[in-house]
Symmetry: C2
Subunit: 424 residues, 2 copies
Amino acid sequence: MRYRFYNARLLTMEQDCSVTEGEVWTEDAAIIYTGPEKEADLTWDREIDVKGNLLMPGFKDAHTHSAMTFLRSRADDMPLHEWLENQVFPLEARLTAEHVYHLSKLAIMEYLTSGITSNFDMYFYPEAIARASVDCGFRTVLVSPITSFSGSTVEEMEEDYHKFNQYHELIRYHLGFHAEYTCETPLLEAIARLSEKLGAPVFNHNSETRESVEQCIKRTGMTPTAFLNSIGMYGQGGGGYHCVHMTDEDLKIFKDKGLTAVTNPGSNVKLASGIAPVRKMMEMGIPIAIGTDGPASNNCLDMFREMFLVTGLAKILEEDAAAVDADEVLHMAVSGGARAMGLSRCDMLKEGKLADMVMIDLYQPNMQPFNNISKNLVYSGSKANIKMTMVNGRILYEDGKFFIGAEPAEIYENANCIVRELVQ
Amino acid sequence: MRYRFYNARLLTMEQDCSVTEGEVWTEDAAIIYTGPEKEADLTWDREIDVKGNLLMPGFKDAHTHSAMTFLRSRADDMPLHEWLENQVFPLEARLTAEHVYHLSKLAIMEYLTSGITSNFDMYFYPEAIARASVDCGFRTVLVSPITSFSGSTVEEMEEDYHKFNQYHELIRYHLGFHAEYTCETPLLEAIARLSEKLGAPVFNHNSETRESVEQCIKRTGMTPTAFLNSIGMYGQGGGGYHCVHMTDEDLKIFKDKGLTAVTNPGSNVKLASGIAPVRKMMEMGIPIAIGTDGPASNNCLDMFREMFLVTGLAKILEEDAAAVDADEVLHMAVSGGARAMGLSRCDMLKEGKLADMVMIDLYQPNMQPFNNISKNLVYSGSKANIKMTMVNGRILYEDGKFFIGAEPAEIYENANCIVRELVQ
């Protein structure tokens, strides 16, 4: 398929967040031209008049648990412990691979409505997740959710690593584990050895709550970051999800090892976990990406909300309205995520890059007047501005309609049936 | 005009946030029936199949400065003082009534996309604001923005009070002033006397920043709330916008006088002002409403973002995931605002109330599955869920189209022209 998008404003994100005018051409999965209007000696499957709207690279949701859609608004406004013990764990225990397949599709729909073109998904039943993404045409980087009580092994993780990195062009797999506090040391050491053997980075939940850090210090004498570093977990890079309660030493380890801090502000406020020190991370040159976390703890999968929160919470934490410039946040949501997820061809609109692209409706009141388009995205953008989401050269969402090989009504019905089944 | 809405889910907000099924009928400005499906011996101008979606009372934006749309994303990520002195004040000084008319219309469009059916608007040129609202069919409660350097007088405020409370059924006027720190004591005393004379409540920016409180204490020996109370400002009730840095004594005055605290969390994070003590206010029984503040400082006019922030920031402040239940937030955004603004007929879907109503699209991925519809609104709702906004019995926004007597393209063009003119 060959698409020509013309009459467009372009936020290519090749360097800064400046906006130009021109065209984008795509052929199959790739971008074959980005630049000023020009004549083409090509035949097109479709020529799309962008009408002055904005084309930009898709957002990367760099931390989520997609299939937790079944828990959305099931148990809010309760203390964290009660929520986990009485709601999340008992219902999760009944989930099947088939459930995860259907529930992941519901999440994919929502990603598309928010201009998210790929996710970094930590959940059980990786094959079900991969199948949901491939069936929808969505791009997913899987990451292992292993714990000491999950019933899976490091040998299986190694198999999954090879299997899913050759599974489909839309699927990648990263090593990972749930968190320091859910994995015993021999398991963590085995993961570190596997990372060295494969030359592969490792990701995990890190310092999400103050309690998890305090307990780690009690057990090991070190913070989670320092402890994991001490057993050689980060020789091949990787990163941490959340990274709320970080010491200066933790941040120095992140900097030295080139680890990405994936911030999840929506979840961190909803679960009262705290505010991540994003400005400090930026000043130290630590790579930063943004994730929604799962729909049980956020409860939505909306990069616009997350972007506003990244800068808003930093401003509150630092008591400085100039903290964490919106343009930096936009880079975290696009290239920061792409870097963490290993999607080096999904970070900008440029010839040779993959066609993971969104069209932003600028002719809505929240995007007017045209004082500053990139800041508008972060400060006043919303899902209602997403006119089109393209993944790997295929349009999956356009003008409120989904093109993902299944009807929305069917996906909603499946999700509601699964909830009824699980809560019986 | 007579409308029949059938096949609906109803969140009437008469009491709690429970959802029922049924119909809503409207005749001209009023609701004439809400309840289960039934036969009607009436002729209809239009019968609308709601298809299982949700009807609820419209949101009230209880603090804003609509015409500041011209400053949206004009000057972000800079210290508060620099922003005000170098950007806001010089450009505001050049605004004309005609500018305010056109810029207010752009804001009204955005309110409608977010399910907001009325606003509490503090800005210059009240007649231009009122004309914009009436021309669009939108409901506005004006409030005086007087300061000691605004060039207007308390006599003019009294005239405006009478004039705008008889101007049009969509317009009301409340006494007010910008803030304690921009008004000299004789002016404040004159406003307090006018309030007593008219039996009218008074509203103003209160304790938005720590500095404004500290400076008031230095000048008067009291906090802004205590000082204003000491000069008899609150004998007839009223309220404060922002209310971030409040002492226990301040809160007790709010409680005793029945004053509404209008919280503006989006603005408070973006300008690094702080987090309002919303849970404490709730526990004390202080009436609470929610406002977006103006588009220069937020930058969007989106009640969904504000609602999430009200509960999210409370959870962070209190370090408690159970703080400020989402259903309470929904009440603040609807009946709390209506109470503050004196719109006692706009607070619920009920026979005899005014038809200020929105239709929420529940068949979008962020509203699925149906675990808890009212919590979904607060935790995962977005502008993209607003299918219809009706004000005073007229549909002003439906399926992305505006019915406000002017074309969106014209309103956008006017706003962009005004910006070009002002920044010359």
